[in-house]
Amino acid sequence: MSVAEPVTPGAAGASAAILVEKLNLWYGDFQALFDVDLRVRAGAITSLIGPSGCGKTTLLRSVNRINERLGYVRTTGSIRLWGLDVLDPSVELAQLRKQVGMVFQRPNPLPLSVRDNVLFGTRVHLPGGKSPTRAEAERIVEEALREVLLWDELKDSLDRRGTELSLEQQQKLCIARLLPVKPRLLLMDEPCSALDPAGTEAVEELIWKLRGDYTILIVTHNMAQARRASEECVFMLLGEMIEHSDTASMFLNPANEQTAAYIEGRYG
């Protein structure tokens, strides 16, 4: 079974893009996640907040299984994406990562031209290492850059190295390069923390614009950002999921005392 198959309507967890159940995760002897249950609504922006070391990045990195690169990671429980278990050994990681794009804390465009950055994913997933035709490539690049609001700025400099752009442009390019392979879920690990306030605002606006077309799970340290730029909010503490509600009510009316203490800034 491949995760690329369309979701059968009415199947278990169909309205949830991500359904995490009883997820425990150990780095060697250190347990980083404890019985995490989480249901992420399809098409919404969900933010993961919590103090450093609370496991939010670990949870994020479990979803596309990039954690496993560290050989000493052990996981129990299940993570279902559109109803399909991604921890199943039969899952093809290349297909999983095609469906699940990831944006990092520090923008990491590849040392290639803007054009080749956008086309990288397409090329990786084409059979036999072929390249798309010229016209096809032009279309892919324009579409992706338009979607991240970079086309007007960069249409005349597609041959510039991605690494020479401003940080804000780099981060947008990193989002753009995920889009041509049509992912359904975008994971973002503090996508604005390396940017200046103007860049943060621009990237947040972009993320907000992408909601609906993509399910977005975003880790953030920035309380104001979670409040501004997410619809649902999950608070984690010491590897446990403490509270999950829509963003407005979490910030106005936290159900849990620890959540309240955290968002008021009593620890962090």
Partner: protein, 289 residues
């Protein structure tokens, strides 16, 4: 409020003292190099001529030139490069890009470090046993070059791995997260951004072997052979062994000859180093991220 106190003055004096000490040590380091080069140029310079470079030795190696040794050394280094680079680069790629951090990998790393510490005479005897006798290559350029290759393999691996490590992990992560395999990542991102460093590093390391004497003297280098080698199964003269021979084994060699041979040998190595370093600086200047 800003005047120096006694303590400040004392500190400044100590500071100056250490600065001088370290500067002096650094100069001590350069001194031998400068002396060696100076002596070689002064005493070996007069020996250098077209005839010296481009004719074979004559009169029982007390006259004539060094052409067979010069050509032989080039053969030895080039064949050693061809043998060691593919293996070394492949091993470094495995260790840097694929190997999990486990006991086996650590054991391999330890083995590489230890291999780098094996004395060259031990490599020489290994070469005799393995290449000359077991594989029946006889005493030949092939056997000698393979011995040199085995000897330089650890440094080739280390140089390659260092070069691979200059490509930031973030690029690899970006690729893996887009579903690229390790090999796609290596081919599209890691190698294009490190190949220049790998090549220069490797050439630098292997060219240093042109001065090695022990590993080639039992495996392929001849005492006196006034012909140019025709293929890898021939024996050959080599600069390093020739220098040893005319300095210690042959009576009545005019004094300027060994100095001349040494000067040519060191110039070859320095030229290779120079090219390699210039290439590296040029490429580093071009690299931007």
């Amino acid at each position: 409020m800003f005047e120096a106190t006694a303590q400040n003055r004392r500190n400044r004096k100590v500071e100056g003292l250490f600065r001088l000490l370290f500067l002096w040590m650094t100069c001590m380091l350069i001194l031998p190099v400068a002396l060696v080069l100076g002596v070689l140029i002064v005493r070996g310079g007069p020996a250098i001529s077209w005839e010296f470079l481009f004719s074979p030795p004559t009169n029982g190696m007390t006259a004539g030139g060094i052409l067979p040794a010069l050509v032989g050394t080039v053969w030895l280094v080039v064949v050693a490069l061809i043998a060691s680079v593919p293996v070394g680069v492949a091993a470094a790629l495995y260790l840097s890009e694929y190997a999990p951090d486990n006991r086996l990998t650590r054991a391999i790393n330890l083995a590489i470090i230890n291999l780098a510490g094996v004395p060259s005479i031990v490599h020489a005897l290994f070469g005799v046993g393995a290449f000359v006798i077991f594989f029946r290559f006889g005493t030949s350029i092939l056997a000698a070059s393979l011995t040199l290759a085995v000897m330089t393999l650890p440094v080739v691996i280390v140089a390659t791995r260092e070069s691979l490590q200059t490509v930031p992990l973030a690029f690899r992560e970006a690729c893996w997260n887009m579903g690229a395999t390790r090999w796609q990542t290596i081919r599209k991102i890691v190698l294009p951004n490190s190949i220049s460093g790998i090549l220069t590093g490797v050439i630098l390391e292997v060219s240093r072997t042109s001065g090695e004497t022990a590993p080639i003297m039992f495996t392929g280098a001849a005492f006196f052979l006034p012909f140019l080698p025709q293929g890898v199964l021939d024996q050959t003269m080599a600069m390093s062994l020739h220098l040893f021979v005319i300095s210690t084994q042959v009576p009545d060699v005019p004094e300027h000859m060994p100095f001349g041979v040494a000067l040519v040998l060191i110039s070859m190595v320095l030229a290779m180093n120079g090219i390699s370093i210039a290439f590296r600086v040029y490429l580093r200047g071009r690299k931007k991220w």
